[in-house]
Structures are given as C-alpha cells and as structure tokens.
C-alpha cells in the first residue's frame, strides 16, 4: 500500500475516491465497454488509487498500458450519473493526469495539443490574428459594452473550415432575430475545458486568466456559446476565478427566440433527423428539451430518437478530454458504436450541437462510408428560416 500516491491524487482533486465501493455500475455505464472485448475496468480505478496501486508497476509495458487507460476516459460522465455514491470518476482521473502531465508522462499527441494551445491560444495552433476570419463578410461588430451578448464561437468553429459554417449560421440567426451581440476575435483564448480535463492545469489557468481579464475589461455580462464545452467550463469552473458573466448555449437562445416568435421556422425541412445529445450539454448541463423543441418547431422535420441510448443515456462521440486528438485503433472508437446506433434510426441527418461531435461524426461517417449527413442544429434551423 502506498498512501503517498493516494494523498497526492486526493490533493490534486481526486477526493471522490473515498466514496467508491466498487459496485461496478460505472463500468456498466462506460461507453468504452460497449466495445466488445475492451474490458475497461473503470470500477477498479478508485480502489487502486486508495491502495496507491495505480501506475505503480516497475514494468515499462504495464506502466504504458495503465497510462493509456488513465487517458482513455473522455469525461462524458455517464458513470457519474449512474453512480450511487456520486463519484466523479472523470475528476478522479483528471487528478491522476495532473500528476502525470506535470511530469510529462503522457501521450505525445496530447503534449503537442497542449503545447499548441499554450503557444497560440487554440488547439489547432492557428494564429490568433485569424480568430475572427470566420466572421468575414457577416458584419459582426467587435464586442463593446453596448452589445448585450458576447458570441464565443469555440476554437473549432473559429478556425476549422467545416465548423466555421456553424459559427456563421449561428451568427446569422442571431442577427435575424435582432440580438445585440459582438465578438472578441484575436484576444480570445480557448476556454480551456479540454486542456483541464487532460490534466494540464497550468495551461487551463492561463486560459482562465486571459479570458476573464478580457471579459472584465470589456464588461462582458452575457455570453452565447456554440460549444457545450465552453458552456460547462464557463458555468461550472470559471466562477471560482471570476463570476461576472453568465453563459447560455446557442440552443437555449434559439429556443427562446422561437418561443418569443423572434424567429419563425417556416421553410419545410423534409428530412428525418436524429438528435445526438452531447454529453456536456445533456448529461452535464441538463439541456435536453431545448434542442428537441427547436427541431420540433421546424415544419416537415421528422425527429427520431436513438432507441434506448438517448437523453441522459446518450453515448459519447469520443471527442471529449482531447479524445479528438487520440487515434485509437479502428475497433476502439466510440464514434463507431454511436454511428451504428444512429444508423438503426434510419435518419437522413444526424443533428449535433457540439463542434467536437460534429468533427467526430463527420470523420466517422467518412471512414465507415455511411451516407448520413452531419449537421449542427444551427445549420438546420437556419435552413428553415426564409
């Protein structure tokens, strides 16, 4: 027994280990175990930490295998919502990661992302000067005190050619509804949600400092986020450092705008659409009804659900906690399982509300050669406005 390792992990934020009694419900809930044969023994983590027996082997290969397991968790919190003792296993593993990251003892792919993010303010390593390029031609003002909202696009919609369309659609909808909003552009930093989950706490602190100083100075009070990952960290984690602003996800705003008749979906959207609940938006922020209300308000749209695995039982795309950057073998990909579930619905379109899900599913549809279009909810909504 090595109490020292236990204490270190608890100190780094792994307090929940004490609560676990190894019932195994987390393992049943964990999406990795929907993959046949992986046997991701999540229920053993807490006990092994209590015994100080995690990543303690003297064997090179055993340490590597253990390290990979610690970085496998995508932070979807499916386990947390099933746990009778409310153990946040993703937080426990984050604590372990913090120690490993401090010692550079983590996968090289992740190190590169952390380095790029720290260097340039986004995980893609794109120049800050180009952060507002997505908005070119849309006439969106720089945020000032006169704006009601700050629109925070997230790094992927700011830089990635595909995801840019989501930011553009969202901004156009807000404009049509007459919402007063602006953007920050080059001074904005990645929200830091994923970098924190991966254990790079210092880089997260840099992100918080940069963004909160920016928000304070510009007197930002209300933020609209396109990514539920920005939403969750702004809502649950930033207040510890600065709580002068409130954040809403785009679907919450859109839903309200429809209810207030500020936008009216009129154009029929004659497709069968399945909505995928992003873990961060659904399970973690309890936003299940708004996106469905939006889709139901669209004429001609046939909304279907994934049998069983919907709402709080949604299955992660695998993109969280920088899973987006890890290339698992073909038979170890969460998005593949989810895609198979989605195929069962017979939908024409997969509707997502998170830039990670968008990317993960687009890539998966391509690799699995599946003919389902992946659209963000903002794109579907915009298409139904005339």
């Amino acid at each position: 027994m090595n109490t020292e390792v236990r204490e270190a992990i608890i100190e780094s934020g792994g307090d929940d280990v004490i609560k676990c009694y190894q019932c195994g419900r987390c393992m049943a809930a964990c999406p990795w175990n929907l993959l046949g044969g992986l046997n991701y023994a999540t229920y053993r983590f807490c006990q092994r930490i209590k015994l100080g027996a995690i990543i303690d082997s003297e064997e090179k290969e055993a340490i590597a295998a253990d390290t990979i397991d610690v970085f496998r968790c995508v932070g979807c919190d499916a386990c947390k919502s099933e746990c009778p003792r409310g153990v946040g296993l993703s937080d426990v593993l984050r604590a372990v990661r913090r120690i490993l990251v401090d010692f550079d003892s983590y996968p090289g792919e992740l190190k590169s992302v952390v380095a790029r993010l720290f260097n340039s303010g986004n995980p893609l390593g794109e120049p800050a000067e180009k952060r507002a390029d997505w908005a070119e031609g849309l006439n969106i003002p720089q945020y000032t005190e006169a704006c009601e909202y700050l629109y925070f696009p997230c790094c992927f919609p700011a830089y990635d050619a595909r995801a840019k369309k989501v930011a553009q659609a969202s901004a156009r909808i807000l404009k049509r509804a007459g919402i007063s909003f602006g953007i920050m552009g080059k001074d904005e930093f990645c929200c830091g949600e994923a970098v924190r989950r991966v254990g790079a706490e210092k880089v997260f602190q840099t992100a918080v400092k940069q963004n909160t100083e920016l928000f304070k100075k510009a007197k930002v009070q209300k933020v609209i986020a396109t990514s539920p990952h920005c939403l969750v960290t702004f809502t649950r984690e930033y207040p510890e450092y600065y709580d002068g602003f409130k954040t809403r996800h785009a679907v919450q705003v859109f839903d309200q705008l429809i209810k207030e008749k500020k936008i009216v979906p009129k154009k029929p959207f004659g497709k069968t659409v399945v909505y995928h609940d992003p873990c961060t938006l659904g399970r973690q922020m309890d936003i299940f009804d708004e996106p469905r209300a939006i889709l139901k308000s669209i004429p001609g749209l046939n909304l279907v659900e994934v049998p069983v695995f919907n709402r709080e039982f949604s299955v992660c795309c695998g993109g969280g906690s920088m899973g987006l950057w890890l290339d698992w073998p073909q038979d170890e990909r969460l998005a593949n399982i989810r895609t198979e579930q989605i195929l069962e619905t017979g939908a024409d379109i997969l509707c997502v509300a998170c830039p990670y899900c968008l990317h993960m599913f687009e890539e998966t549809m391509k690799s699995m050669d599946v003919d389902i279009e992946v659209m963000d909810i903002s794109e579907i909504l915009e298409a139904s406005l005339d």
Partner: protein, 327 residues
Amino acid sequence: MNEIFALVEHRQGIIRDITYELLSCGRKLAEKGNTKLTAVILGHNTDNFVQILKGQAHRLLVVDNEVYEDFNSEVYQTALTEIIKRQNPVLTLISHSAFGVDLCPALAAQLGMPFTTDCLDVELAEQKLKVTRQIYDGKLNAKVLLRENAGYMITLRSGCFPAGESSLDGVVEKIDTPVSAQPDYRKFIEYIEAAVGEVDITKSDVLVSVGRGVKEKAYLSIIEDFAETIGGVVGCSRPVVDAGWLPKDRQIGSSGKTVKPKLYIALGISGAFQHIIGMKGADTIIAVNKDPNAPIFSEADYGIVDDLFKVVPVLKTKILEMKQAKG
C-alpha cells in the same frame, strides 16, 4: 591569409557529393581572402580521387594509407591534428554529415580551435569568422561570430553551397601518414546495408512519400493504392519509420535515401530539413499538408493545403479518369 582546407569525404571508394560543395565554398572564400584552397584527402588508393579533384582546388594534400579506407573519426582526428598543427590553415571545412559531426567537435577541441557546426553561410574577413546557422526547428536563423583565432573549423550543411565548375590545376602533395592502425578502443568493422526490401525507392520516377500526417499504419494501404495508380512507389519521412510503419529502406532524408524522381508527392510531410535534403533534387514536387506554414511548401512547386486523406481519393479518381480517357 593562410590557406583554407576542405576535407574530402568519401565512402566505399566514392567521393561524396557534399565534398564538391565544401570545395566550392572553399574556393569562394579563398578568392575573397586572396588565399588558396587545399583539398585534404585521407584515403586509400587515392589516385582516382586525385584525378577527379585536381581541378577543384589549388593544392591536394594526400595521405594514403589503408587505415583511411573507411571512416574512423579517431584515426582521422589523430592524423588531422598533426597535419593542421603543421600547416596552420585559417579555416578547415568539414561536411555536416554523419562523418563530420563525429569528427569536427573532437578534432577542433583537441586543437583548441574555435569551431561550430551546421553552417548555412560563411563570412571570413580580417581573420574574423561569422557564420549563419539555423535554429529552433529551422524557424529562425542565427548569425554567430566565432572567438577570434588564427584557425577555425566548421561543418557545412549540404545543399547550401552549390557545387560549381572549376578548372584549377591542383598541385598534388603527398605526405606520410601520422597513423597506421585503428585504435583498439574504436575499430571500424563493416558497413551494413539497411535491409533492402522488394522496392528500391531510388530507382522510381514517381515517389509518393508520407509523413507523420498518415497517422496510422492501417492508412498506408490507401497510400500504397494511390502510388500504384500513378505508377509510383511509397517512401516516407523519419517519423513513419520510427513508428515502425515502413521499413528503413523507404526512408527519404539525411538519414535515409536521397532520391531524384521526376515526380515527388509529399503527403502529410511537414518538411524538416533532414527530409528536404533527401528529396530536393526531384524534378517536380507536389506537397499536401494541412498546415499552410509547413516548410515543405517552401520546397514544393505546387501545394495543396488540406488533409491528405481528403485529397488522395479525389486525386486518384481524376488520374484514373485521365488514364481511361487516354486508353
């Protein structure tokens, strides 16, 4: 100003290309400094070398002994220490190669001579030596001044000093060898050819080369398939070999093969100089990389800024269409 020395690099009886670049650089410096260039040949059965290099330097200093047949930095160091002490060249040029990096620092340190390595440019005036080097993954250049001294030693990066025509009539001067046996503590045993597979990438007119961007071994089949479509073979950059995805004999670059195909398609290769060295001689270079700032675009004739996995399938279809139209 005292003479300039350039050390002739040879392997398996053949003068290596970098030698001509050293000599070209040396002639320019000698001309500017109003001095002469000496090619230093440490080798065995050197008559052939002398013939080839006679026009390239003002003087050829030849030390012929079987101990120099294969490179051994300890042997070379002992011999060159003697020679340089006696002849006092103002500057000794050595290639920045597996040969040069093994020799130069130890030799210069033994002589107490200021040295530096991997130079892209050299200025020698009024006994002061200033060089340009590349640092931080090739993203910046540094101008470096060497501590003032009567003699200097540097290694030159290949590809920075084009080998030029020269019609000097070098005076051949043979001297006795200061060394006649390899030391016990470091003996050259043999050269081992890295395993030659079924494919010789140096012989193909078309090369499709992959780098880190290929992401996984499993994806190589897509690349192999594409290469076959355009009648080429697959090569790669170092990370792909490091990962064990392709054998060593497919590696292109300073630590792999040097290739000069008619067409070189670089897929997901960022273009570290080690790789560039091995492929810059290609007639036409097409690069596909997600990063618009990837250095490979500085070397390529045509660039596509995108994911290679998006480009390859479409390109393959187009080429097939074109082939069919022709057939």
